[in-house]
Protein backbone atom coordinates (compact mmCIF):
# COMPACT_ATOMS: atom_id res chain seq x y z
CA UNK A 1 0.00 0.00 0.00
CA UNK A 2 1.28 3.49 -0.92
CA UNK A 3 0.87 5.85 2.05
CA UNK A 4 1.38 9.12 0.15
CA UNK A 5 -2.28 10.17 0.23
CA UNK A 6 -2.82 9.75 3.97
CA UNK A 7 -3.80 12.60 6.32
CA UNK A 8 -0.41 12.72 8.01
CA UNK A 9 -1.30 15.40 10.56
CA UNK A 10 -4.28 13.38 11.83
CA UNK A 11 -2.14 10.26 12.04
CA UNK A 12 0.49 12.18 14.01
CA UNK A 13 -2.13 13.48 16.45
CA UNK A 14 -3.52 9.96 16.94
CA UNK A 15 -0.01 8.67 17.55
CA UNK A 16 0.82 11.37 20.11
CA UNK A 17 -2.51 10.95 21.92
CA UNK A 18 -2.91 7.16 22.07
CA UNK A 19 -0.59 4.89 20.06
CA UNK A 20 2.52 6.27 21.77
CA UNK A 21 1.13 5.43 25.21
CA UNK A 22 0.20 1.94 24.01
CA UNK A 23 3.77 1.39 22.79
CA UNK A 24 5.23 2.71 26.04
CA UNK A 25 2.90 0.47 28.02
CA UNK A 26 4.03 -2.50 25.96
CA UNK A 27 7.66 -1.63 26.73
CA UNK A 28 6.66 -1.98 30.38
CA UNK A 29 9.40 0.29 31.72
CA UNK A 30 12.12 -0.90 29.35
CA UNK A 31 13.78 2.15 27.75
CA UNK A 32 13.50 2.17 23.98
CA UNK A 33 17.04 3.55 23.70
CA UNK A 34 18.53 0.50 25.41
CA UNK A 35 18.16 -1.27 22.06
CA UNK A 36 20.19 -0.39 19.01
CA UNK A 37 18.09 1.12 16.23
CA UNK A 38 18.39 -1.01 13.12
CA UNK A 39 15.53 0.33 11.03
CA UNK A 40 15.15 3.87 9.72
CA UNK A 41 13.01 5.85 7.30
CA UNK A 42 13.33 9.10 5.39
CA UNK A 43 9.97 10.75 4.83
CA UNK A 44 6.36 10.56 5.94
CA UNK A 45 5.07 7.84 3.66
CA UNK A 46 8.29 5.83 3.86
CA UNK A 47 8.02 5.92 7.65
CA UNK A 48 4.38 4.75 7.61
CA UNK A 49 5.29 1.88 5.26
CA UNK A 50 8.07 0.76 7.62
CA UNK A 51 5.77 1.16 10.64
CA UNK A 52 3.15 -1.01 8.96
CA UNK A 53 5.72 -3.65 8.02
CA UNK A 54 7.14 -3.88 11.54
CA UNK A 55 3.78 -3.67 13.31
CA UNK A 56 2.09 -6.45 11.40
CA UNK A 57 4.98 -8.77 10.65
CA UNK A 58 5.81 -11.28 13.39
CA UNK A 59 9.58 -11.52 13.84
CA UNK A 60 11.04 -14.85 14.91
CA UNK A 61 10.96 -15.29 18.67
CA UNK A 62 8.14 -12.83 19.20
CA UNK A 63 4.45 -13.50 19.50
CA UNK A 64 2.50 -11.74 16.69
CA UNK A 65 2.26 -8.05 17.63
CA UNK A 66 -0.80 -7.57 15.43
CA UNK A 67 -3.10 -8.32 18.34
CA UNK A 68 -1.57 -5.75 20.66
CA UNK A 69 -3.42 -2.53 21.49
CA UNK A 70 -0.96 -0.36 19.60
CA UNK A 71 -1.33 -2.55 16.49
CA UNK A 72 -5.12 -2.50 16.58
CA UNK A 73 -5.05 1.28 16.91
CA UNK A 74 -2.45 1.64 14.17
CA UNK A 75 -4.57 -0.41 11.79
CA UNK A 76 -7.71 1.57 12.70
CA UNK A 77 -5.87 4.86 12.19
CA UNK A 78 -4.53 3.83 8.80
CA UNK A 79 -7.98 2.62 7.76
CA UNK A 80 -9.47 5.98 8.77
CA UNK A 81 -6.78 8.32 7.45
CA UNK A 82 -5.44 6.51 4.38
CA UNK A 83 -7.79 6.23 1.38
CA UNK A 84 -8.23 2.65 0.23
CA UNK A 85 -6.13 1.15 3.00
CA UNK A 86 -8.96 -0.99 4.34
CA UNK A 87 -9.46 -2.67 1.00
CA UNK A 88 -5.85 -3.83 0.96
CA UNK A 89 -6.30 -5.33 4.41
CA UNK A 90 -9.47 -7.40 3.89
CA UNK A 91 -7.66 -10.58 2.77
CA UNK A 92 -4.76 -10.61 5.18
CA UNK A 93 -6.49 -9.56 8.41
CA UNK A 94 -7.01 -12.53 10.69
CA UNK A 95 -9.65 -12.18 13.43
CA UNK A 96 -7.48 -9.84 15.49
CA UNK A 97 -9.02 -9.92 18.95
CA UNK A 98 -6.92 -8.57 21.80
CA UNK A 99 -5.68 -11.49 23.81
CA UNK A 100 -6.42 -11.18 27.48
CA UNK A 101 -3.16 -12.51 28.74
CA UNK A 102 -0.28 -11.23 26.59
CA UNK A 103 1.78 -14.13 25.32
CA UNK A 104 5.46 -14.08 26.14
CA UNK A 105 6.99 -10.61 25.70
CA UNK A 106 10.44 -11.65 24.72
CA UNK A 107 13.44 -9.40 24.37
CA UNK A 108 12.92 -9.80 20.63
CA UNK A 109 9.44 -8.26 20.95
CA UNK A 110 10.74 -5.34 23.03
CA UNK A 111 13.44 -4.74 20.45
CA UNK A 112 10.87 -4.73 17.64
CA UNK A 113 8.63 -2.27 19.51
CA UNK A 114 11.61 -0.02 20.25
CA UNK A 115 12.22 0.11 16.49
CA UNK A 116 8.60 1.22 16.10
CA UNK A 117 9.13 4.01 18.62
CA UNK A 118 12.09 5.18 16.55
CA UNK A 119 10.14 5.11 13.31
CA UNK A 120 7.10 6.89 14.79
CA UNK A 121 9.45 9.50 16.28
CA UNK A 122 10.97 10.14 12.89
CA UNK A 123 7.49 10.38 11.36
CA UNK A 124 6.51 13.03 13.94
CA UNK A 125 9.65 15.04 13.27
CA UNK A 126 8.84 15.23 9.56
CA UNK A 127 5.64 17.13 10.37
CA UNK A 128 6.21 20.67 11.50
CA UNK A 129 4.06 23.76 11.29
CA UNK A 130 5.55 26.85 9.71
Amino acid sequence: YNFTDCDFEKIKQKYQKTIYNDLKEYMNGAKSTQFNSTVSCNNKSDCLAEIERLTFSAPRGCAPLAREAFALRTRATFALQCPGYSRTQTNNTQAAKKTKEREITTKKCLEQVSQLLGLWGRFCRTLWKR
Binding site: T33, S37, S40, G118
Partner: protein
Protein backbone atom coordinates in the same frame (compact mmCIF):
# COMPACT_ATOMS: atom_id res chain seq x y z
CA UNK B 1 25.45 0.16 22.99
CA UNK B 2 27.70 -2.83 23.42
CA UNK B 3 31.02 -2.61 25.29
CA UNK B 4 29.98 -0.82 28.42
CA UNK B 5 33.52 -0.24 29.87
CA UNK B 6 33.78 2.99 27.88
CA UNK B 7 31.49 5.78 29.07
CA UNK B 8 30.09 7.44 26.00
CA UNK B 9 28.07 10.65 25.91
CA UNK B 10 26.10 11.83 22.89
CA UNK B 11 24.48 15.23 22.30
CA UNK B 12 22.95 16.65 19.16
CA UNK B 13 23.10 20.43 19.07
CA UNK B 14 20.10 22.07 17.50
CA UNK B 15 19.93 19.67 14.52
CA UNK B 16 23.31 21.04 13.41
CA UNK B 17 26.06 18.87 14.89
CA UNK B 18 26.37 15.67 16.88
CA UNK B 19 29.07 15.44 19.51
CA UNK B 20 30.07 11.99 20.76
CA UNK B 21 32.57 12.02 23.65
CA UNK B 22 34.17 9.23 25.68
CA UNK B 23 36.25 9.00 28.81
CA UNK B 24 39.92 9.13 27.88
CA UNK B 25 41.49 5.72 28.40
CA UNK B 26 44.07 6.12 31.14
CA UNK B 27 46.51 4.85 32.17
CA UNK B 28 46.87 2.85 28.95
CA UNK B 29 46.87 6.14 27.07
CA UNK B 30 45.53 4.52 23.92
CA UNK B 31 44.41 6.81 21.13
CA UNK B 32 40.94 5.55 20.23
CA UNK B 33 39.41 6.01 16.79
CA UNK B 34 35.79 6.76 15.88
CA UNK B 35 34.06 5.24 12.83
CA UNK B 36 30.47 5.99 11.82
CA UNK B 37 27.80 6.06 9.14
CA UNK B 38 24.24 7.35 8.85
CA UNK B 39 23.42 4.72 6.26
CA UNK B 40 23.47 1.12 7.44
CA UNK B 41 24.05 0.02 3.85
CA UNK B 42 27.31 1.93 3.57
CA UNK B 43 30.79 1.32 5.00
CA UNK B 44 31.79 3.21 8.14
CA UNK B 45 34.02 6.23 7.69
CA UNK B 46 36.46 7.62 10.20
CA UNK B 47 35.83 10.83 12.15
CA UNK B 48 37.27 13.93 10.47
CA UNK B 49 36.90 16.26 13.46
CA UNK B 50 38.25 14.72 16.67
CA UNK B 51 38.09 16.33 20.10
CA UNK B 52 41.38 15.96 21.94
CA UNK B 53 41.96 15.92 25.68
CA UNK B 54 45.50 15.75 27.05
CA UNK B 55 46.68 14.86 23.61
CA UNK B 56 44.36 11.85 23.28
CA UNK B 57 41.19 11.53 21.23
CA UNK B 58 38.20 12.08 23.50
CA UNK B 59 35.37 12.68 21.07
CA UNK B 60 34.16 13.39 17.58
CA UNK B 61 32.00 16.19 16.15
CA UNK B 62 29.99 15.32 13.06
CA UNK B 63 27.32 16.98 10.97
CA UNK B 64 23.74 16.12 11.94
CA UNK B 65 21.44 14.00 9.83
CA UNK B 66 17.97 12.95 11.03
CA UNK B 67 18.90 9.34 10.61
CA UNK B 68 20.13 6.43 12.70
CA UNK B 69 23.76 7.06 13.65
CA UNK B 70 25.75 3.80 13.59
CA UNK B 71 29.17 4.19 15.22
CA UNK B 72 32.02 2.27 16.70
CA UNK B 73 34.91 3.38 18.95
CA UNK B 74 38.01 1.27 18.48
CA UNK B 75 41.50 0.82 19.81
CA UNK B 76 44.32 -0.60 17.76
CA UNK B 77 42.94 -4.13 17.77
CA UNK B 78 39.18 -4.16 18.32
CA UNK B 79 35.94 -2.23 18.86
CA UNK B 80 35.43 -1.07 22.46
CA UNK B 81 31.95 0.36 21.94
CA UNK B 82 29.39 0.07 19.14
CA UNK B 83 25.97 1.70 19.05
CA UNK B 84 23.14 2.53 16.64
CA UNK B 85 20.48 5.12 17.56
CA UNK B 86 18.55 8.02 16.05
CA UNK B 87 20.77 11.09 16.34
CA UNK B 88 17.65 13.15 17.16
CA UNK B 89 17.16 11.08 20.30
CA UNK B 90 20.02 13.08 21.84
CA UNK B 91 18.77 16.46 20.72
CA UNK B 92 19.35 19.60 22.70
CA UNK B 93 17.61 22.45 20.84
CA UNK B 94 19.34 25.82 20.69
CA UNK B 95 17.86 28.87 22.46
CA UNK B 96 15.15 30.53 20.34
CA UNK B 97 16.54 33.36 18.20
CA UNK B 98 14.99 36.62 16.97
CA UNK B 99 12.18 36.62 19.53
CA UNK B 100 9.60 39.33 18.91
CA UNK B 101 7.02 40.63 21.35
CA UNK B 102 3.71 42.25 20.41
CA UNK B 103 1.98 43.91 23.33
CA UNK B 104 -1.72 44.79 23.36
CA UNK B 105 -3.25 46.03 26.60
CA UNK B 106 -3.41 42.93 28.80
CA UNK B 107 -1.79 40.42 26.46
CA UNK B 108 1.48 39.70 24.73
CA UNK B 109 2.25 37.56 21.67
CA UNK B 110 5.74 36.06 21.59
CA UNK B 111 6.90 34.78 18.21
CA UNK B 112 10.11 33.56 16.64
CA UNK B 113 11.21 31.62 13.57
CA UNK B 114 10.36 27.97 14.40
CA UNK B 115 12.71 25.06 13.79
CA UNK B 116 12.05 22.96 10.70
CA UNK B 117 11.32 19.84 12.73
CA UNK B 118 8.14 18.54 14.31
CA UNK B 119 7.53 17.21 17.78
CA UNK B 120 8.87 20.30 19.57
CA UNK B 121 7.26 22.59 22.15
CA UNK B 122 7.97 26.29 22.42
CA UNK B 123 7.81 27.42 26.04
CA UNK B 124 7.55 31.04 27.15
CA UNK B 125 7.95 32.00 30.79
CA UNK B 126 6.80 35.32 32.19
CA UNK B 127 7.12 36.97 35.56
CA UNK B 128 6.12 40.41 36.84
CA UNK B 129 8.07 42.22 39.50
CA UNK B 130 5.36 41.18 41.95
CA UNK B 131 5.70 37.48 41.19
CA UNK B 132 8.10 35.13 42.92
CA UNK B 133 7.81 32.38 40.31
CA UNK B 134 7.72 32.19 36.53
CA UNK B 135 4.43 31.49 34.81
CA UNK B 136 4.76 29.08 31.85
CA UNK B 137 2.92 28.57 28.59
CA UNK B 138 3.89 26.31 25.68
CA UNK B 139 2.71 25.78 22.12
CA UNK B 140 3.63 23.51 19.19
CA UNK B 141 4.68 26.53 17.15
CA UNK B 142 6.76 29.56 18.15
CA UNK B 143 3.68 31.73 18.48
CA UNK B 144 2.72 31.90 22.15
CA UNK B 145 0.00 34.25 23.42
CA UNK B 146 -0.25 35.14 27.10
CA UNK B 147 -3.30 36.99 28.34
CA UNK B 148 -4.65 38.45 31.56
CA UNK B 149 -1.69 40.77 32.14
CA UNK B 150 -1.72 44.08 34.02
CA UNK B 151 -0.72 47.02 31.81
CA UNK B 152 0.65 48.79 34.90
CA UNK B 153 3.11 46.08 35.81
CA UNK B 154 6.61 45.40 34.55
CA UNK B 155 7.15 41.95 33.04
CA UNK B 156 10.23 39.88 32.22
CA UNK B 157 10.04 37.06 29.70
CA UNK B 158 12.24 34.24 28.43
CA UNK B 159 11.71 31.35 26.00
CA UNK B 160 13.12 27.93 25.19
CA UNK B 161 12.45 24.93 22.94
CA UNK B 162 11.56 21.56 24.48
CA UNK B 163 11.39 18.11 22.92
CA UNK B 164 8.45 15.72 23.25
CA UNK B 165 9.27 12.13 24.21
CA UNK B 166 6.92 10.79 21.53
CA UNK B 167 9.13 12.32 18.83
CA UNK B 168 12.57 12.48 20.49
CA UNK B 169 12.62 9.57 22.93
CA UNK B 170 13.47 9.62 26.64
CA UNK B 171 17.11 10.80 26.44
CA UNK B 172 16.79 14.22 24.74
CA UNK B 173 17.36 17.53 26.53
CA UNK B 174 15.37 20.75 26.91
CA UNK B 175 16.94 23.68 25.10
CA UNK B 176 18.69 26.61 26.77
CA UNK B 177 16.67 29.63 27.77
CA UNK B 178 16.81 32.71 25.63
CA UNK B 179 18.02 35.91 27.23
CA UNK B 180 15.50 37.48 29.59
CA UNK B 181 13.85 40.59 28.20
CA UNK B 182 11.83 43.01 30.34
CA UNK B 183 8.91 45.27 29.38
CA UNK B 184 7.07 48.11 31.08
CA UNK B 185 3.85 49.40 29.56
CA UNK B 186 4.66 47.54 26.37
CA UNK B 187 8.07 49.19 26.07
CA UNK B 188 11.42 47.47 26.56
CA UNK B 189 13.01 48.08 29.91
CA UNK B 190 16.50 47.15 31.09
CA UNK B 191 15.02 45.45 34.08
CA UNK B 192 11.94 45.45 36.27
CA UNK B 193 12.22 47.44 39.53
CA UNK B 194 12.48 44.96 42.35
CA UNK B 195 9.47 44.81 44.64
CA UNK B 196 10.73 42.45 47.32
CA UNK B 197 8.33 39.59 47.51
CA UNK B 198 8.94 36.92 50.04
CA UNK B 199 6.02 34.64 50.06
CA UNK B 200 4.75 34.00 53.53
CA UNK B 201 6.32 37.19 54.92
CA UNK B 202 3.48 38.93 56.82
CA UNK B 203 2.53 42.35 55.59
CA UNK B 204 1.69 45.02 58.08
CA UNK B 205 -0.03 48.21 57.06
CA UNK B 206 0.58 51.08 59.43
CA UNK B 207 -2.12 53.74 59.41
CA UNK B 208 -1.29 57.01 61.15
CA UNK B 209 -3.83 59.65 61.83
Amino acid sequence: GTGEALQVHIICFNFETVRVTWNVSEPSGENLTFFYTFDSGEAYGQCTHYILRRGLTAGCILDFQDQVLHFSIRNATHALFTHSQWASFYLKPGAPRNLSFQWQQEKVAVTCPGLAHGGLLYEVQLRSNFDAAWQSKEEETCNVHIEGLDAEKCYCLRARVKTTEAAYGPDSYPGDWSEVSCWYGGLPSDLCPDVPISPGFPRFILICS
